[in-house]
């Protein structure tokens, strides 16, 4: 295909991704009368936002006194002081407004007897600056994400948002000045490549949890927005920070709830030892998430893992009364049978620490504008949700702040697009002559490649490398080796071969294109993690231990700063954390302890 044959469609705004943040942004734009296109690899209500069950936080104070400033404190503390305090203040102040709006869009929140939105307690939610737990999480049973997507989708239908379903965005279009002019996308049903030429482009593509071998993320989370941004010369921020859960089914990644250990489940290594007794003599298997995860990884790294590759440990509930398992943990028995092929009444469940959420992403300010290396907005480019790094989650995300992030920054990015259009800051500019060259070269390479590596094998190698070298607990030498290995994976991925060269519904091609994005995210993560010589939040290194000078291994003198990974040259730079909130006093650095 030559670039002459790439059709161009014009819009005021193009949004890539139809999960919570994309749909929320689209409402602002469509209701303002802008011609808005939303591109999605799947039907909107199949986005991964569905998997968010816990709730969305807002200091509504429906059950007891609460304040956005307390929510802000919890978020800053949760972020291990790496979050930007202007964005965190903005998000926490906006939370009540966006939650009530969502209620008006038809979200079926659980209610109190008086008909108010019911609020429940959640880990890390405290009143009066960390004093005691507060009920701040709003939920719709255990289907909060699902209900939210449905409410937002219906509102978009009403507002005439134009959806392009089963389309994959491939690359960002930028001109010489760096302004973003839209995206190039592939329609799966036809194989057609189309330019979406727009005044504003909003990335809402979600996270990239599939870079890990063990991940709770659905297969769709391949970091397409991150890959596109990196290829277009946008640096990625704080990519070393990933939230992990200690017990995912080895291989599958499906979550085994912490309740299993609560009911008496015991972690064992290859010698059948209850190893948590060594790491946490009192709490044992009920120690905190990070302590359990670290112990599991240490056992595996020291050769006491189980299975032919010694790469998992066992979660044992065989000593429990089968009646208790059937009664208290029925879902876990089904999950173990379906996804581990074992009945936990008879045999222990293979588990590993499992990737769950990406804190880093495309750097944005609190208005949803993507910011470049100079700190100035990249004209025409916006991002919200897990793909973006505002940064409100910093080094670790507070529970229920992910759904809040979607609503607040989805809406903010939409509002900022409208402002930028009105002020004349952005407008439709001519496409550069070579706008499709890079994308077409990538597609052409795939169509003509022979004798190359298999996409599946490459992806597996990438995922295993990330899991082993850059998992929940990190080691200096493993990280150094990991950087070299991920560069090797990148080389192989540049020569992947697909056997199917057809146009229509060529899923092999789409998977190869997804792999390109995973490669960018994996490199960013590994290189950023290797360089950060401290422990902070979710980034925990063996060689940055807890000392009086650096509690929990955190080194504020040298490392209280954001990482920026640049694809060109595979290099890093750093920028300061924004410590000045919008209207209140700075929440000063302090040791993070719960």
């Amino acid at each position: 295909m030559s670039k002459l044959s790439v059709p161009v469609r014009k819009f005021d705004a193009v949004i890539v991704g139809a999960g919570g943040s994309g749909l929320r942004a689209a409402i602002q734009l469509s209701e303002a009368g802008l011609k808005t296109a939303v591109l999605s690899k799947v039907f909107p209500t199949r986005s991964h936002t569905v998997a968010a069950q816990g709730g969305v936080s807002a200091s509504l104070g429906n059950s007891e006194e609460d304040h956005w400033h307390w929510h802000m404190y919890d978020t800053v503390k949760g972020s291990d002081w790496l979050g930007d305090q202007d964005a965190i203040e903005y998000m926490c102040r906006k939370a009540p407004e966006v939650v009530v709006e969502l209620e008006h869009f038809g979200m079926p929140f659980d209610r109190t007897d008086e008909g108010k939105i019911y609020q429940r307690p959640f880990g890390g939610h405290m009143s009066n600056f960390g004093e005691k737990p507060v009920r701040r999480a709003c939920a719709a049973a255990d289907r909060t994400g699902h209900a939210m997507l449905h409410a937002l989708y219906q509102r978009n239908v009403r507002a005439n948002t134009q959806f392009f379903v089963e389309w994959m965005a491939l690359d960002l279009i930028r001109d010489q000045s760096g302004q973003v002019l839209g995206v190039i996308a592939l329609e799966m049903e036809t194989g057609e490549v189309v330019a979406f030429h727009s005044k504003a482009t909003v990335f809402a593509t979600g996270g990239a949890g599939r870079i890990y071998y063990s991940s709770t993320n659905a297969f769709i989370n391949t970091g397409d927005g991150l890959g596109m941004a990196a290829r277009a010369g946008i640096a990625l921020e704080d990519m070393e920070f990933w939230q992990f859960h200690p017990t995912g089914v080895a291989g599958a990644g499906v979550l085994i709830t912490e309740g299993v250990r609560g009911e008496g489940g015991i972690l064992r290594n290859s010698t059948n030892e209850r190893f948590m007794e060594r790491y946490a003599p009192n709490a044992k298997d009920l120690a905190s998430r990070d302590v359990v995860s670290r112990a599991m990884v240490t056992e595996i790294n020291e050769g006491r893992g189980c299975g032919p590759n010694k790469d998992f440990v066992l979660l044992d509930i065989t000593h429990l009364d089968p009646a208790t398992i059937m009664k208290r943990l029925p879902g876990i028995r089904e999950i173990s049978i379906q996804f581990a092929g074992i009945d936990p009444i008879k045999a222990p469940i293979p588990v590993v620490p499992t990737c769950h959420y990406q804190m880093g992403g495309v750097p944005t300010n609190y208005k949803g504008q993507v910011v470049g290396d100079d700190g100035a907005p990249v004209r025409g480019f916006y991002a919200a949700g897990e793909v973006a790094c505002a940064s409100v989650h910093g080094a670790n995300r507070l529970g229920t702040n992910s759904l809040l992030d979607l609503l607040v920054f989805g809406k903010a990015s939409g509002d900022t697009v409208i402002d930028d259009l009105r002020s004349g800051e952005i407008g439709l500019r001519d496409l550069p002559a070579d706008f499709a060259d890079r994308t077409l070269a990538r597609l052409n390479r795939l169509n003509t490649q022979t004798g190359g590596a298999s996409v599946n094998e490459c992806r597996l190698e990438l995922q295993r490398t990330m899991q082993k070298h850059c998992g929940v607990f990190r080691f200096k030498d493993m990280l150094v080796e990991g950087v070299a290995k991920i560069v090797e994976v990148e080389k192989a991925a540049a020569h992947t071969e697909i056997k199917d060269k057809s146009q229509v519904w060529n899923t092999a091609r789409v998977e190869a294109l997804e792999l390109d994005n995973l490669v960018e995210v994996a490199k960013a993560t590994m290189v950023s993690a290797e360089a950060r010589k401290e422990s902070r939040g979710a980034h925990v290194r063996d060689d940055a231990p807890d000392t009086p000078a650096n509690p929990n291994g955190r080194d504020d003198v040298n490392w209280h700063k954001h990482t920026l990974w640049h694809r060109e040259g595979n290099r890093l730079s750093y920028k300061p954390v924004i410590m000045k909130p919008l209207s209140v006093e700075t929440i000063a650095l302090k040791t993070r302890s719960y």
């Binding site: 799966m188 659905a218 996804f339 519904w505």
Partner: protein, 84 residues
């Protein structure tokens, strides 16, 4: 749309879902069991693959039963899938 195209579209809809659990189960089913289905069962599976995850999940877990007898046959096979 030819058979390859239909199968690929189904593969996409089975393996790019909202929940990891459903990606894994439906993907495995598609590779191992789907080729052995009768035409009526295959149609029923396509219909089920078009359901949303939170509709399909209770059916797979046995918390709900389908009204359609052919869907029930397919579901019995789906419930037996083991992802390794």
């Amino acid at each position: 749309m030819d058979d390859r195209e239909k199968l690929n579209r189904l593969r996409w809809r089975c393996t790019r879902r909202a929940m990891l659990e459903m990606d894994l189960l439906l993907g495995e089913f598609l590779e191992r069991v789907y080729p052995t289905l009768s035409p009526a069962q295959a149609d029923a599976f396509v219909t089920m693959a078009d359901m949303e995850d939170l509709e399909l999940w209770p059916l797979v877990n046995g918390n709900r039963e389908p009204d359609d007898p052919v869907q029930a046959e397919v579901l019995a096979l789906l419930r037996n899938v083991r992802v390794k």
